[in-house]
Amino acid sequence: MLKFNYFMIYNNGKITSINKEDLVYNLKENISRVESFEQLKKLYREYFEKEGLIRKLFNEIKDLSKEEKRKIAPIVQEFQKIAIKLFEEKEIELKNTQFRKELTKGAENLGYNISKVGHLHPITQTIRALNKIFIEMGYSILDGPEIETDEYCFRRLNVPKNHPAMDMQDTIYINEPNILLRTQTSSIEARLLEKYSPPLKVVCPGRVYRNEKPNKSNHFIFHHYQGVVVAREISLKDLFGTITYLFKNIYGSNVKIRFRNKYYPEVEPGIGPDMECFNCKGRGCPICKGVGWIEMGGAGIIHPNILKMAGIDNKKWRGFAFGLGLDRWVMAKYNITDIRTLLGGNLGYKYYENENII
């Protein structure tokens, strides 16, 4: 129980004066020592409850004369006001402190775990990058069967039986000579032309198979990116423009490209697009085998026999096609030195890093 007698003066048991400043000071001292709601409640009782100081003072004032009341009452009222304010402020302070304590208690560390991220295969990433360019130009994306027939892999692509061009692609057979693993994604082109009527704009990324012993730079399984357009007035200018646009998107606007005549049975005229060697800038080096240019694939105006076999009138419609070998693009971009890495085994992904997604 606190003692307050020091702050009041009594005469014959009647209160004659109150030292308000000291009372307030004393209250402030008492409140400053409060550290909990319980303590605050207890202190509050000492001032405001039945036996509390302020109630007691009001009771004592009752017995004073009018004149004495006029002198003492305002002091008591003033003190009550101040006391209430101080208690309220203390309550707020205690609430804040408690809230901070709870926050501190409930606070968590970030920890040291790093999220493992998943990755897409470099071939997928490259196909996506190419697809994006062509989708923006209004192309569709198609695939086709990997087990193909001689009909769609060769005949319908202007490679008749016994044609020397068949030697260009050694074939893996399931049932020679008719059932085989497709040697080029042009087989999708053959199916596309049979199934759909022009006009057409399609790209066909896909896996192909050739009977070649694998080594660092060649594999019997690799990936092609084929494009086919059939429309009314197609020219080499359109084909060159498309390929140039593609290369510039992939390699930057300063890339140097040339187009030379090249033979493929599926096209006439045939084109070989080359890119200036990024390593020697055309001077010749081991990467480009001294040529100064890197072969990027093949292209040309679709051979009229192919359109004819598909039932398309080649007087009304003309088309171009191109095929790019994807694996070397991928190897160059991802610094992969052995083509066999792309098909399992040695291709690993850093756990916590990924490519820029935009």
């Binding site: 198609l142 069967p145 020397p164 357009v229 007035e233 049975p265 006439e268 399992g344």
Partner: protein
């Protein structure tokens, strides 16, 4: 094909361009340069240029052929080698038979006697060495020289070593031939050969035999130059695994018309250098003298194909420079290809000739074409595969690609479908002849490789094809394979299942069930192997593998994307709901016999409750009894009052209103947690 710069200049005297420029031009017009070497030839500095020759231009597997290309480009004349002395034929009839008429296009042959064979002069040896051909003796070297110059191989046989009739036929009798270099080559049957009455003398179009080989003592010879059905030579060359300069040329469509000049040149060189006299008349077996019909050609097409204007006069000039015979008639040309150009038969062939000589570099390459808008025909499985890749990679899985050809026996471990193995007949690696029947093959191989390399996080997937045969039908299915490997023996199948199911739900499915697999792959733990079903369709499989590594667990799932696409076309869920009232969550305990499927039970409940009333139905607890399992099923009802929800709940689960909560196991959930597995007993 190699060619000396000096030889080009000799054949094209007007040429002023340097060898680098010449090689660049040949590259652009269709012959990719693959070599450029400074050499010494006949005591002078020279350049040996090397080019890839197109499959359909055997005429350019010759010095003259390439020189003609250079001359045509620059509009210059070609000075052909002089045939001097002109051959003077005798009267003797050669004893030659051609049995395999279908395989032979033309044979030119003569008999020459009183020859003096000797060592070749230095210039000839030096020339042949540039082509990596060893000098043998003058006669043989001249034959090789003419081959390189003209593109037409020839064959000289020592007449004194020939017995009787020289015959071209398909092999039926001989099991072996010893070739010129002494190698013994085993024969089957059906190869095109040259024989006499006793011996096999040559593999026609490929290589001569040792028996009638020319040596320094040879005084009398039969010189023959033949052009064959190129397919026969190619096939024989491939089957016997012999490739020679001769077979490389004769395995392509050489023009029989061109052999006449080449043969005369050969004979004149033999007579000039080895003396001798032509005893026989010229033997000329030439059945099918194809009369070349002129091609009707509209020169405007060149410009249309190029996308730039090309003058008619320019087209005419180019064709004439190339040796084409052109008869203009009004706006049309009638064009006959020159000797050697067996690749020209169509208008488009002529267009290519004009454009490649006009120069592709003159056609603009920076104009993005304005092509018409066309219908999008991209099939849905392409979009689906891309979405799946993203979903899985965002879930922390890495994409791999693996080889679809597998070791013999692997398919027996991994297959779970009702079909047969497809094997290749000539796989590159004989140990890997079969096409995979499950994506698990490649993913498990990748796992093994990663573990060898110390990779400590293996969650991988692959989208690819699996293959199988049913009767005569070859099938391939596009599949997603997912593998998760845990480096402890923690049982993580529910975690793996969550990944797979989250994937399926994200792509738009809701009714996903699991049934004990009908066919279990050998590699699977048979007690942890389920078919994944969506509605009534089996779309895939999920299983725990038998232990591959001590105290580590591996899980695999495979989903048929073709089936998924078909199902998605018939599926539409709208998960976005306007909530008009609080969700009412009610539980029910049900007991199901051990051999019955909780999924089937839940299907029935869903039907009874009706989709429009359901927010979720979850199994939140499971308790094993003797012959039954007690499941606690929690149903969250949407947009229903408490009373309405209760009524439906009671009816659906067959619960009585009057029964006590304790007896019926009917209780309201206290708190709806966000963890759907809250309260799930282990």
């Amino acid at each position: 094909m190699k060619i000396l710069y000096s030889q080009i200049k000799e054949l094209v005297p007007g040429l002023k361009k340097d060898p680098k420029k010449v090689s660049e031009i040949l590259t652009l017009i269709g012959f990719m340069r693959d070599g450029f070497d400074k050499v010494r030839y006949q005591n002078r500095n020279d350049y040996l240029l090397s080019f890839e020759i197109r499959q359909n231009r055997p005429d350019c597997l010759s010095v003259i052929g390439l020189a003609k290309e250079v001359a045509a480009y620059y509009g210059l004349k070609v000075k052909m080698p002089r045939i001097f002395p002109a051959p003077s034929y005798g009267t003797k009839k050669l004893d030659i038979k051609v049995n395999a008429k279908n395989c032979v296009k033309r044979i030119l042959a003569v008999e020459i006697k009183n020859l003096t064979n000797k060592e070749s002069p230095k210039w000839l040896k030096e020339f042949l060495s540039l082509y990596e051909i060893n000098s043998i003796n003058l006669l043989v070297d001249l034959s090789n020289y003419v081959m390189i110059l003209t593109g037409y191989p020839s064959h000289l046989l020592d007449l004194d070593k020939i017995n009787g009739t020289l015959c071209w036929s398909l092999n039926n009798d001989f099991k072996e031939i010893t070739t010129l270099d002494g190698s013994k080559v085993k024969l089957k049957k059906g190869e095109l050969i040259i024989k006499d009455n006793k011996n096999i003398l040559a593999l026609a179009g490929i290589v001569g035999g040792k028996i009638a080989a020319i040596d320094f003592n040879s005084k009398s010879i039969i010189a023959e130059m033949a052009v064959y059905d190129s397919f026969v030579v190619r096939k024989n060359s491939r089957d016997l695994k012999i490739t020679t300069e001769a077979s490389n040329r004769l395995g392509k469509d050489l023009d029989p018309r061109g052999s006449e000049f080449a043969f005369k040149l050969l004979i004149s060189l033999i007579i000039k250098n080895c003396k001798g006299k032509i005893e026989s008349e010229l033997f000329d077996f030439y059945l099918d003298k194809n009369i070349i019909k002129p091609i009707k050609f509209d020169p405007r097409l060149s410009g249309l194909y190029a996308g730039v204007d090309i003058l008619k006069s320019k087209s005419l000039k180019i064709l004439k420079n190339l040796g084409f015979e052109v008869k203009p008639l009004k706006d049309i040309f009638f064009v006959k290809p020159p000797v050697g150009r067996t690749d020209i038969s169509l208008t488009e062939d002529l267009i290519e000739e004009i454009l490649r000589m006009y120069g592709y570099d003159k056609i603009p390459k920076d104009k993005i074409p304005k092509l018409e808008i066309v219908k999008n025909i991209t099939p849905k499985n392409i979009y689906l595969a891309e979405k799946i890749r993203d979903i899985l990679s965002y879930s922390g899985f890495d994409e791999i690609l693996s080889c679809p050809l597998t070791k013999k026996g692997d398919n027996l471990k991994f297959n779970y479908l009702n079909w047969e193995i497809i094997s290749t007949q000539n796989s590159v690696n004989e140990e890997y002849p079969d096409l995979r029947q499950s994506m698990a093959v490649g993913l498990v191989n990748q796992l093994n490789e990663y573990l060898k390399k110390g990779v400590r996080y293996v969650r991988i997937f692959e989208i690819g094809k699996i293959f199988g045969k049913k009767g005569n039908n070859y099938k391939e299915e596009e599949m997603l394979g997912v593998l998760m490997h845990i480096f402890s023996d923690d049982k993580s199948l529910p975690l793996f299942k969550e990944v797979i199911e989250r994937l399926l739900r994200t792509i738009g499915f809701n009714e996903i069930y699991y049934l004990d697999s009908e066919i279990k792959p050998e590699i699977a733990n048979p007690y942890s192997c389920w078919d994944i079903k969506i509605k009534e369709e089996t779309v895939g499989i999920i299983y725990k593998l038998k232990p591959l590594y001590l105290k580590q667990n591996t899980y695999f799932s495979e989903i048929n994307l073709g089936k998924i696409v078909k199902l998605l076309e018939k599926t539409y869920y709208n998960p976005a709901v306007e909530l008009s009232s609080k969700l009412v969550v009610l539980d029910a305990n049900v007991e199901i016999k051990n051999d019955k499927s909780i999924d089937d039970y839940l299907k029935k409940i869903r039907k009874k409750i009706k989709e429009k009333n359901i927010w979720t139905i979850e199994v939140v607890d499971r308790f094993l009894l003797k012959e039954k399992i007690r499941y606690t099923i929690r149903v969250s009802y949407k947009n229903l009052s408490d009373k309405e929800a209760k009524k439906i709940h009671l009816e659906a689960f067959g619960l009585s209103q009057r029964s006590s909560e304790a007896e019926q196991g009917f209780r309201k959930a206290q708190v709806v947690g966000s963890n759907p597995t809250a309260g799930l007993s282990k």
